[in-house]
Symmetry: C2
Subunit: 421 residues, 2 copies
């Protein structure tokens, strides 16, 4: 999950709390759910051991395969039959429901971390505090899925819907959500799913219902280049780059939905006395509305194209023209999930029932993909407390009562969401 979640939570106004869905109260009241909770507690030592084992099997962007094989093995040892690894590297295990014809529920946690290959992933333990890169984001989420399925099996919890448990690749920045993209394009059960729940990072009560979408470009302006004194008068790609930045910051935005842009990184050029043959600027555009991202995108392209034409018309093109190339760094679809009922209300109600301060937040997670396809989707925490995500000092605390209480929220959300309505 993006580290931005903490900032965003503060910035997002709280909507009115949705009413408690009856299915949540019903689920929590069952003896089987209570049994499952007890099993989560009794199984907690194994859960922690699996967090450690997963964390110490390094997994980096586009390097998730070792952890994927481990996870498939752990799924098998947790009782899943026919665990598969799909074409892009997602691990998928199905827990059958009563009615396999019903649209399935997809529950996922992500296999990748932000840390590069070679990062020391040895877990250090001080009391109930475990420290290692990726331990909360998202080793704990992956282990939670295993603990959920074992608790449901041991407590004989039956659901109406099949549940696809997925350890997916590519959630973090460079992965650009390729794991969930692939899943929702190629897996028939995912494509027709009733809902999607991502278990990502620690905590309970924050429910991602707005998927911030983004288009990110490495915009390269090229020209002939030449000696700054001798060739003065020829086109300079730095000029249309500059006009594009100025134009971007003149684009008018609505007050809602939130739309943002940023000219973030610049580079290029040879030496101070050379008209540059190539310069670039990296631009980020985001919104909870895909339409708004696309509008800014279209305006920006028009501005850049106009700036290039203006430069070719203003200065000499004797040695060549300037041109612009929008290279895609990332493209994440935006989306949102209805907050007044359904999946979001179940998660809200479950967290509230366990005493958490529930609220809805906007951030970019694996839930963006199903949201953009119209499938109800949320991202919630795996419980427990933790911090310093995306930093080498990442940590979680596995003190059992808080850890199990947070896990119980996830379990109640999953069981309630797997009921036919």
């Amino acid at each position: 999950m993006s580290i931005a979640i903490a900032f965003l939570a503060a910035a997002t106004p709280l909507p009115a709390a949705p009413p408690m869905p009856p299915i949540v109260s019903k689920t929590l009241a069952t003896t089987r759910f209570k049994a499952a909770e007890t099993i989560l507690r009794n199984d907690h030592e194994r859960f922690v051991a699996e967090i450690v084992e997963i964390t110490q099997t390094a997994s980096w962007p586009f390097g998730e395969s070792n952890r994927a094989r481990l996870y498939a093995d752990l799924m098998g040892r947790s009782g899943f039959k026919n665990v598969t690894i799909d074409g892009i590297g997602n691990v998928v295990g199905v827990r059958p429901g009563r009615n396999p014809k019903l649209p399935a529920l997809v529950v996922a946690a992500h296999l990748d971390t932000v840390f590069p290959q070679g990062t020391d992933v040895t877990v250090r333990r001080e009391g109930t505090r475990l420290m290692a890169p990726g331990i909360g984001d998202d080793s704990r989420g992956l282990a939670a899925l295993l603990a959920f399925s074992r608790a449901m099996d041991a407590a004989q919890v039956e659901t109406d819907r099949d549940i696809l448990f997925v350890g997916n690749v590519g959630e973090e920045g460079p992965g650009d959500l390729r794991g969930t993209r692939y899943l929702f394009q190629n897996n028939a059960r995912a494509r027709t799913a009733a809902a999607f729940i991502s278990i990502d990072s620690t905590g309970a009560g924050k429910i991602v219902t707005k998927g911030v979408g983004s288009n990110r470009y490495h915009i390269v302006f090229s020209g002939p280049g030449g000696h700054s004194y001798d060739k003065f008068g020829i086109v300079n790609p730095m000029v249309p780059l500059a006009k594009t930045v100025v134009g971007l910051y003149d684009i008018q935005l609505p007050s809602a939905p939130k739309v943002t842009y940023s000219a973030s990184v610049a580079g290029g050029g040879t030496s101070v006395n050379t008209i540059p043959p190539q310069v670039f600027v990296d631009v980020d555009m985001r919104s909870t509305s895909t339409a708004e991202v696309e509008r800014v995108d279209r305006e920006l392209r028009a501005i850049a194209q106009h700036a290039v034409e203006e430069e070719n018309a203003t200065r000499s093109t004797e040695r060549g023209k300037v041109s612009v190339d929008f290279q895609i760094i990332g493209k994440r679809p935006a989306g949102q999930t209805d907050e007044s009922g359904g999946l979001a209300a179940i998660a809200f109600g479950a967290a509230t029932a366990f005493g958490y301060d529930s609220h809805f937040i906007a951030v970019s997670t694996d839930a963006n993909v199903p949201m953009s396809l119209g499938i109800p989707a949320i991202t919630i925490g795996s419980g427990g407390i933790g911090g310093a995500e995306h930093s080498p000092d990442e940590w979680i605390d596995v003190e059992m009562s808080e850890s199990v209480k947070g896990l119980s929220v996830g379990l109640a959300t999953i069981i309630s969401s797997a009921a036919a309505r």
Copy 2:
């Protein structure tokens, strides 16, 4: 000398040839000059050996001291008395004239090369072709000064003026002419000199009479920086940078004197999803007129300052303001030397007399400094042919007849310029 000389020669319109100064005809007709020419020929093998020895004593920007010590030693072995190395590293030897009270003539070649420490400077020889970094620019010039003084001594050539022979530091880019700057600030004989001749690179006939001046800046725009989505709305230093580039390219320039500018290198920023805390653009401004460079400089600073103020007024400064800092990369004074007579006409006439196609060119060399102080100054070649300056494939050809003919042009120019008028 800047590699730009070849380009610039083509771009500069040829002025009317100045009349042949009588002093040149008179010098060439003396038996002592003819004797000196013969000595240049007889001494040629030693001249070539010294080119090799100088070249193989590596000298890089701000790392000229080994070569300076060698050069002081070679000057001593060539007959100079009281050779000194001044406070910045220039090697200075004086050849007394008949009247030490007359303003002196300064003749210089530069000790530095563009090549970094560690460059392989082993000279390879194929027939009369010698290959090594810096061998033409300016090892041959340095060796030429030694050959000139020995030929004058052996032929008993007497001059009215004292001649300061100088091996100076800091001619190439990063050196920013610090050797000649120091010389003309601190050496009383240089400060009051009658004229300055730099012997730089190969060839004969191209006479630098226009010193292209330049102001070069690393312009840094800073701001608070922040997350591109969460902190959207705060000031972004990329915007005033872009407006500064756009404004620079809107500055109107006269058709003459030639003035140029270039926004050449850009950089900065952290990641595509971060509003950058710092970005920069490197800018080069040049002209043969210092006043024009300074005018563009003032306009650019005003544009940047205005762009910064506009950004601070347009977006939120809650987390801090944007600011701009002009960091000087280089500042070379502009200047020119009268082409209708005097020093320039002597060099023109001497080259013409030896059958060279003479012409005046504009480029940045050590002559910029005395030109900017109103001292007549030129830069001419050391003769012979060569190429690939500033490249590891640099070469010269020391075939004797062409090599000595080119040296003779320099010698005639020096002797004629050392005469009282």
